[in-house]
Subunit: 474 residues, 4 copies
């Protein structure tokens, strides 16, 4: 039930069988990644059997579901494709900023899909502008595109240009780049954002999460390593690991992917998101136990941690809510008038499940606190005797520079408040967060993580100001 | 996960405070009832403070969410309103057949919303036609409308006309009728379909289910009794129970409302749908126990019964699936080609939850069997050691004449097949259905129920042929 | 440039070759009749080779052009069809009121398309309501439909029922009625509104105007006579003239069809609309000559009369305006603010054509006078030395009861004003109207006409009040 | 009735009164220029009173009328704006290629609207690519944008950068450039495409044609001179004529703007389009007289020349056609099947006007000949005794490199055919074209013109191949 937003999902596919059109596979892959971005989406295709360099793309605002008709999908002929779903962290939510970014340059055509956020984007952009570049979007991806294009003129292959460009980028980037004859996946050396490689028959697939592989019937091969460049050509798959230059503990995998962003059925860097959440629940039950009759998750993201809490504590697990799946994006929100105040359209309580019970509510996070407040009240009004809140992450205290939309500090409920103060605000009988020291163990304790949003310590030096949306104001 | 379709949801509201516009309340109420029908929807309003007899309506194909803009809602001025969501059981799925049906007649204007199915609609229609009536739709509601209009000319009030018309109708009908100054709710004497009465400040509300009351912040008063006519006027609420002429055991409440159709958070005739499903699960655990490691529901409708099974059996309850909530109505289905065969967009398995486990899967019903087959395979491919299927209803064997879209017998997997044969088809390690004798106990054992779809015994004599869609062929 | 609105256009086609789908012919026919109504449109088809009584219809608000996709047209399978374009004279502009009206009754299915206005619709409707009928629209057509249905039960054929129903109707009606096996065209005995019969290969066609025949490549056979019922069946064309019971001089052909409503390229009752307008211009030049340098029409409806004036007077004919054909229905009108006051989007003056000239401007009518005022100013500001207005009809003074949307008397500029007073208001140097005595000669002097809007003398007794829109208020 | 397409229309406005929003003026201006391009359109605004550098734009495929809602127009706040309507001569018809092109660069933001075609675009693009530039569109405008951005870094002002960029461009360009605080209009030194300057209250306006000034109520000041840069800032209007370096006879005003492209009510370089066409008709009458009864234009573009022919010859001028204004862009074209062959939706003949007459038909051009063939047949079938075709331009024989979509030579009917051969193909009794020597006199004889499409002589050296659409193929 977090109001945090993931930034983007990327997808790429290259079917070595040239007779296969892959646009519909991208469509299904993007549907599986839709939770990573709902503002805009797009698909670009290239046909290696067709005239050189022809890339066709369809992009639009809104959901995958709303943007593509069967006719349109069928018009996207080609056996290589790249797709993107977007939530805007940097750059406004406009049609111009939709990805994949398709461009022509000295060596032909490229299509780019990018997940992440650069912390030196403004500097790089400024340098480019001074050298005479123009920018038609406000997304970091355009900066990356320029660097690839400029390097490509100087070196022998697109994949080499991608690597050279990457050397100049600081921050989070999981990239899928399509040239008319190649598909390249790359992940920044810190590994902030996930990227996996899969296979289906003769096709190789890149995706932000394994769930997209499952959805299209592809098999997981492995994660792209932080710093690795994987290139798919007509001749097969090639890996360049020369930039895998961080030690494991220097790396900065976003721990919040496991806690909230990713789908429960996905695996990131070999670790099951589901298991990580189960563990978070177990840790909470160990560290902050409570005597209760029922453990429930706040739908949907709190469910797995709630199950873990139940397993560990022995308190029965159940559901306390009915979630209305018919409330879509075009839903007309109730006004703030007295009359419509009581309207509860998205979530209703299962009174029979909670009446007279001491309820443990597990959620992934508390951001501003308003949702938690309302949910605790709903459960209580439905007759719960006690409501205990357990949060499967530490308190949010710091900005994210690497591709997540955390609000400014003064809007964060945990900023300058004790846990007891927060408890009072949300009206729970007790409240506990997951301890920071528990985070590494969620994913096995061996992988380097970024927990900057909880600690203020980031895997790399961060700028003094939060760069979000700054571009828009210039 | 049933593919059965409920027929309709109805909603009505009368705010005695004439300054209050109620269209947005209908909108939220219909959103709460959307699970009862997704083919078309509509809202009709009347303003008791305005010129006599002006009724304004907006209707359309598709979801509530898609059909109303804020401007449109605001254009529907008035303090009485009636709303409808529809799935077509009789009558084609066309704009003409969308409800509420709005009509002018000798005494003014009426708007009707109807949930149910008449078994004598064809005879009544034929009689009306012979007497010179014309029909512009193919829905039963138009037959009801004619009868009300004809009776109204002969008697003193709309509510009396509704009653007299009802005397001629055989079958299932939960009706909300709006005249420019009155709002009337009526339920057939058998009580096939639900209808409740609620209140919010000065407004009285009718709705198919209590969840719609919760959604708009109204309080449940009571269910409309089978055969009762409840009339709301400027002077208050009046009840006519002269047609409550069936003994409780003669009544025919649809047991499938509890098993599948209604929302888990609703109460029908005072009985919690959630509790009924928990009981179904408990009964299954008692009657058809199995040694296993995990109990899961088939989302979403199987979840509560699965929880009941877990409670009773002591086997841990959990979730085995991720359900993609971004797959909307306009979703482009995978083709039946080899290539798109493996595509699994709507439902993916949580491998970590089921791997190596003996899993009990609980679903509300098996209709044709194709879905169950696929789901059992998915769980098994994800690594489950055993898959045991438990169905929280008896096998479907007979048609429904009272407002549900049960396929023809030869399409039903249970028709002419033993449970063992079905088990083999769906590939489960064991399969058990809820016993027919358990049905009354789901809802306390005292209320008269219709279980015709399982037994072939209906609360009233049924026609020789299934009347669905016959009108279209004439 | 009149702001008067024609009420409707009707079209029907029966291809005796059952293998021919005719929906696209209706589509093109309705495009040709679009000037007769732009509010809603519809097509209904029947397939005589298919299952008995299946009629399929598509209707919608707005233009023909906007309402039908190729897929939709192709889905309308069948060799009989009826179509309609509507401007609302009686009955609100809503989807419910769109035609053709499709209905089921004791003897099967009917689809009706109606052009005209009944003056006894309210009485007939009241009688029907008292006998238990319900009305789902507010159009006269529903009254006609009931009468046909009721008569059909008592007599031997649809065409006979149409005739018996017609005996009860007073006012203007040109009707096309489709039963699953027949297509019937009828015109009221006064002949207010036009209706022609044509033929293309094996298909018979009814249309409001001959231009629709030309458009689909059909040949004109003859006009349906006032009072005649023409029936097309599998066996051919049959005529019933038993209701052609008015003498020619009793008839009431709407003279305004010739002056403004109909297309210039149409023929009504054998008389060319173009020639009638040329004559109107000639008469104006004879009766109200003026010394001038240029004769122009107000686009488009004034052009033919202007040409007639030029021919008769010897003054050169030309064009004074550029009309922007890209200003569609969804055009955002300029606000009445100071800033947008000067905005002239639809019509611009050809300065070079009028500068320094004495211009005769010919228009078909002046209704409220606001348009004329603006146009005279525009011409003058563009440098014309003199502007002389000539109107090819007499002044509007009385309501129309027969299917035209004339505003209420107090809004008519000619009401209670002399021609000199009107001239001053519109700012012309001179102004003259066509004399009432000239009207019969426009169409040869032999056909009975209705000139009630100019004289207050109607071909039949009219009600005391104007019935337009009364239904909406009840 | 030419099937040639103009390339684009541009519009810009700067209201020195900062409180005035100008988006609606652009909207009306673009409606007036819609004949210059119907594929895509867009508006970009800047608010000089707002935060520095914020430019907001809305673009879309299709007509102005279809792309902007009132809400959208109102969301475009600002007192400077630039607008564009496009027909694609170079660059595919896609959303990406819609203008204005909005970009950020070292010195801030720019929005560009361009009418014309560069002949060195490919070379310039190649140079830019080699230097590391990327291209997101396939339009020349992006090349221009890069040049302006690169020059701006090196010089003191945007207007200076526009000038320096222009020095590198070869071909046709009428440009409107908006920076956050300035509006700049420039025309190439040859003056191929028109551009005028106007004024309304405190606002200065650039537009492709004067008709856009008239439409928004602005006054014509003067044409931008070939080679001139006009800059509007907060302080007023400034002119830089240092690039007006061609003598009048070296200039290359497109003569086809006068013959066909521009609106009849526009003035280009001080010459009335209407008068030019009247003259063309007069010249035809002098040079190729014919004995006839009626002179008609092929709607609409042939009308003025027809009037000129009538004036000169003394033969009466009239109209031979009814043009259906309800046939919009989404119109479903008749199939080429036998059945739909006779369908004539857009144009019908006024039989009464032409029957028995010797008709002179005047059209602006014959491109492929198919339209002329059909029109001559229609007139003849309607009963004309003779049909004489007069064309108000010389035969098309050569490609246009400067912004017009002339088909390839082998598709031109005049290519390798004598006038007599063409006459036989179109079936006219006689045929004559305007002589090439008459062209200068159409516009006064003193202005330098480009008549390359008739003569193959262009005002500048042209490339060996036609560059249209080449970019798409690379």
């Amino acid at each position: 039930m977090s109001n945090l937003h993931e930034e983007c999902g990327v997808f790429g596919i290259y079917d070595l069988d040239e007779s296969q059109d892959v646009a519909s596979s991208v469509y299904y892959g993007l549907l599986a990644l839709q939770h990573r971005g709902q503002e805009s989406c797009g698909i670009a295709v290239s046909d290696t059997s067709g005239p050189k360099g022809r890339v066709k793309a369809i992009k639009g605002m809104g959901l995958v579901n709303e943007n593509f008709s069967r006719e349109q999908l069928e018009s996207l002929k080609g056996n290589i494709a790249v797709g993107h779903v977007r939530y805007s962290t940097a750059g406004a939510s406009t049609r111009e900023n939709a990805q994949p970014l398709v461009l022509n340059y000295a060596k032909g055509t490229l299509a780019l899909a990018h997940n992440g956020n650069l912390i030196n984007a403004l500097e790089l952009r400024h340098e480019l502008e001074v050298s005479g570049c123009i920018f038609q979007t406000t997304i970091d991806t355009e900066v990356i595109a320029y660097h690839i294009a400029r390097e490509r003129v100087k070196c022998g292959s697109v994949e080499e240009a991608v690597g050279r460009a990457a050397d100049k980028l600081k921050g989070a980037f999981s990239l899928v780049v399509m040239s008319p004859r190649k598909l390249i996946g790359m992940r920044d050396p810190w590994g902030f954002r996930p990227l996996v490689l899969g296979k289906r028959d003769n096709a190789y697939v890149f995706a932000s999460e394994t769930c997209a592989l499952d959805t299209i019937g592809a098999t997981y091969i492995r994660d792209v390593e932080p710093g690795e460049i994987v290139t798919v050509t007509r001749k097969g798959v090639f890996s360049d690991k020369s930039r895998c230059n961080k030690s494991e503990k220097e790396r900065g995998r976003c721990i919040f992917e496991y806690i909230y962003f990713a789908r429960t059925d996905s695996y990131i860097d070999g670790v099951s998101v589901y298991n990580a959440r189960i563990k978070a629940g177990r840790f909470l039950a160990q560290d902050s136990p409570v005597d209760a009759d029922l453990v429930c998750g706040v739908p949907q993201s709190g469910n797995a941690a709630a199950l873990g809490f139940a397993m560990e504590s022995g308190i029965p697990y159940g559901s306390a809510f009915y979630k209305n799946s018919y409330v879509g994006r075009t839903f007309i929100s109730p006004k703030q008038s007295q009359r419509e105040k009581g309207v509860q359209v998205k979530l209703n309580v299962l009174r029979e499940a909670v009446r007279g019970k001491r309820v443990v509510l597990v959620d992934d996070s508390i951001v501003r606190g308003t949702t938690s407040d309302r949910i605790v009240s709903m459960i209580r009004e439905a007759g719960a005797k006690e409501v205990h809140m357990r949060i499967s992450s530490p308190p949010f205290l710091w900005p994210c520079y690497f591709g997540t939309d955390v609000p400014e500090r003064h809007q964060l409920i945990a900023y300058n408040r004790s846990v007891e103060e927060i408890r009072q605000i949300i009206g729970a009988d007790s409240l506990a967060y997951l301890g920071i020291d528990r985070l590494p163990d969620l994913i096995g304790g061996k992988l380097g993580i970024c927990n900057g949003c909880f600690t203020g310590n980031y895997p790399m030096k961060t700028p003094d100001i939060n760069i979000h949306n700054v571009l828009e104001e210039e």
